[in-house]
Amino acid sequence: MTLALPAPPVPEPKRSTLVATALAVAAGTAFFGSLLGVYLQVRDDALDALRADHAANPTVVVRFLPAEVTVPEIATNTMLLTLVGAALLAQWAVYAMKRGERRQTAVALVLCAVFGLATLNSQAYTWAQMGVAIDDAGAFGTVFYASTGAFAAAVVVGVVHTAINAFRSFGGRYSATDTEGLAANALVWYFVLAAYTALWFAVYVNK
């Protein structure tokens, strides 16, 4: 027998896209946290070993980066600023759509995607400039490419996410009262920015 329950009011829209994106960001945080945690652990172990060697032989240099490898700091710092810009642009898209400014929203989303592509370009440049030989750089090569490669993949996800939202925006999917997808897009870029900030400090500043 089916029990008849009272009819409910019409449910209000819930922010499932934003919540799911927040959950995905939590997953991404765990992913990058694990990558960087292992990076720092490997770095500490390597430096401890080098310090011991240095105590026995002062000519041994205590340095996690392989010899001859330098970090192109202009490129890595520019990447950070570019990602700050991408996050601001993504937020601008939300702001503009809430005010019904579709043209501004389109400009913001396109620029956001371009900033993402510029970040990928900077990452590729950084790889080329550093010239770390993955099979000849010891533990550094593994953890460096795993971390920076995962970051590049996160940027690709951000660019694709922005492109999808841009097309949905062009198609009239969003309105002044429905900006949830755009807010989710901004959340993705805040996450990418936060992930890179941690990566930038651990890998490029702390070295």
């Binding site: 027998m1 089916t2 029990l3 008849a4 329950l5 009272p6 009819a7 409910p8 009011p9 449910p11 829209p13 819930k14 922010r15 499932s16 896209t17 919540v19 799911a20 994106t21 959950l23 995905a24 939590a26 997953a27 991404g28 765990a30 992913f31 990058f32 946290g33 694990s34 990558l35 292992v38 490997v42 993955i134 099979d135 000849d136 750089a137 010891g138 533990a139 090569g141 593994t142 953890v143 490419y145 795993a146 490669g149 995962a150 996410h161 999808i164 429905d178 949830e180 997808g181 989710a184």
Partner: protein, 539 residues
């Protein structure tokens, strides 16, 4: 529509399309489905098949250990043992629990679809693809310790796909509970199993990406690198934490939720102190904290250690080894209150759930011993004791999955399964879990090294290996027989009513099997809406 497109309109549109898709027969209907009941069924069915395969491997692994050599399998012995563990954790237990939750939770919440139905479908197909790749990699001499480099890489890639897909399923599940509840249903009114599914999914969202991150590093290292992590032989030591203590206790959360769901119904009363039960379920999330250490935190306090350091280490021990015990105490206390003075009906789901909670609890208690470095018989970390702990936790959680199918099966497929045989099979499965796990625990006390078939230590190891093998055989029989009962029930069982158990929660107000729009008329204001309705009817 993309997989991230889930406004209420598009979810309903998905339901509309599902009605159209339901007209597709056979393979086409199942492969194109976005119906959460079917997706959950695919997960659970595939996981049960994988479970049977895992028990065959476990049996072979046990036979190999009888004479403390690798005479039967030779160089493949380590990989068979390894495939048993990765299969049990990522091809059997996790997908079974996720599948049951995907099928049941939207019904409990009174919503017509899971949030992001296409993403949920992608989660299943992605998991299946990744799992097949992993098994294929093992067959091609890959996996941890494998001899073919490309196959080892393939295993790691497959593991990344599996963990990514299961994470996606967990995101869908958590998003459903957080955003798609029936009107009036707050989180405190959420059914116990749905609440535990939220906690479990949230824990998986944290745990599985950590496993994926480690697999990515190992992949880069093995395929291109130095290697920094020990090459193919370093994969196991770097990755086995994903199914050993304490990551495995995460899977106890749905077992606790199932017990909290079933007990009030069979006791025929409301759950007393329900918020306490929910707090207990929420505490299950603490199990993910020790997993972040990616290994056992060893409690090592040599003489002369500073007091502050000792306190620090004791605090870490409490956090990683004692805290996971707490949710069991709270939930068992809460359901004990519910059972006090009641005369509960004994149904198979209750036996499965109780066995699951007891076994995972023993796993948590065993986990409290593992980190202690200064035990009288020597440290247990690195011995087969850890395998025993993992078997208690993972096999216990597996029983919860079977219990979920026994409880909600009649709802999902609209027909009765024979419950009396299932009670027997639940008891049989409990015996199997004890045989397998206890044999490993005792072997650990006898210093048998972890997951090493060729060991050289004294003791009745042959007897323990026989007990272990017998346990795997018993488990195979119990799971195969239970699956057969489910299958026969689904195909030929008597049509069931909407509420065969006298349930308290919303899913039992729907027709059996549920239609895609069946729950749209629900208004919920308490945790037991059907009990309220029945009480109103009596007045």
């Amino acid at each position: 529509m993309t997989t991230i497109d889930t406004t209420s309109e598009t979810v309903l549109a998905a339901s509309d399309r599902e009605e159209a898709a339901a007209t597709l027969e056979g393979v086409a209907g199942w492969t194109s489905t976005v119906d959460h009941v079917r997706i959950g069924g695919l997960f659970a069915g595939s996981a049960l098949l994988a479970t049977l395969g895992v028990f065959v491997l476990g049996g072979i692994w046990g036979i190999e250990r009888v004479d403390a050599s690798d005479a039967l399998l030779g160089g493949a012995a380590g990989q068979v043992g390894s495939l048993y563990w990765y299969g049990l954790a990522f091809a059997a237990v996790t997908p079974l629990l996720v599948g049951v939750a995907i099928a049941v939770v939207p019904l409990q919440l009174g919503v017509p679809a899971i949030a992001f139905p296409r993403a949920a479908a992608l989660s299943y197909w992605g998991w299946l693809f990744g799992a097949v790749v992993m098994v294929g990699a093992y067959i091609a001499d890959g996996g941890p310790g494998g001899g073919v480099d490309e196959a080892v890489d393939l295993f790691l890639a497959g593991l990344v796909v599996v963990t990514g897909a299961l994470t996606l399923g967990a995101v869908c599940l958590a998003a459903t509970v957080l955003t798609a509840r029936a009107p009036g249903m707050g989180l405190l009114e959420t059914p116990a199993f749905a609440f535990s599914s939220l906690v479990y999914a949230s824990a998986l969202v944290v745990l599985l990406p950590m496993v994926a991150a480690k697999a990515v590093q190992l992949y880069v290292d093995h395929r291109y690198g130095g290697p920094a992590f020990g090459g193919t032989l370093g994969i196991g030591p770097n990755l086995d934490w994903s199914f050993l203590q304490a990551a495995n206790l995460v899977h106890a959360i749905p077992a606790l939720g199932l017990l909290g769901e079933v007990v009030p119904v069979i006791a025929g009363r409301r759950q007393p102190m329900r918020p306490v039960l929910l707090v207990g379920l929420g505490l299950g999330a603490f199990a993910v904290i020790p997993a972040a250490f990616q290994g056992v935190f060893i409690l090592d306090v040599p003489s002369g250690t500073a007091v502050f350091t000792i306190l620090q280490r004791l605090a870490m021990y409490a956090l990683t080894a004692l805290l996971p015990i707490l949710p069991f105490l709270v939930v068992l206390g809460a359901v004990g209150l519910c059972l006090k003075g009641a005369r509960p009906r004994i149904v198979s789901a209750f036996v499965f759930a109780l066995a699951a909670v007891l076994m995972t609890w023993v796993g948590a208690l065993a986990g409290a011993l593992t980190p202690i470095d200064d035990l009288p018989g020597g440290a247990l970390a690195g011995t087969q004791f850890q395998a025993g702990q993992a078997n208690y936790a993972l096999l216990g959680a597996l029983l919860a999955g079977l219990g979920g199918l026994a409880w909600w099966g009649p709802k999902l497929w609209g027909r009765h399964s024979a419950d009396a045989p299932l009670v027997g099979f639940a008891g049989l499965a409990l015996i199997g879990v004890v045989l397998v796990s206890l044999a490993d625990v005792i072997a650990g006390f006898l210093d048998q090294p972890l997951n090493d078939p060729a060991f050289e230590v004294d003791g009745p190891h042959a007897l323990l290996a026989v007990a272990y093998t017998a346990g795997q055989a018993v488990l195979f029989l119990a799971v195969a027989a239970s699956a057969l009962v489910f299958w026969r029930g689904a195909r030929r069982g008597e049509p069931t009513g909407d509420d065969p158990w006298g349930g308290h929660t919303l899913e039992w107000a729907m027709p059996s099997p549920p239609g895609s729009r069946a729950a749209e008329t629900a208004m919920v204001t308490t945790p037991e809406p059907l009990l309220d309705r029945a009480a109103d009817g009596d007045r």
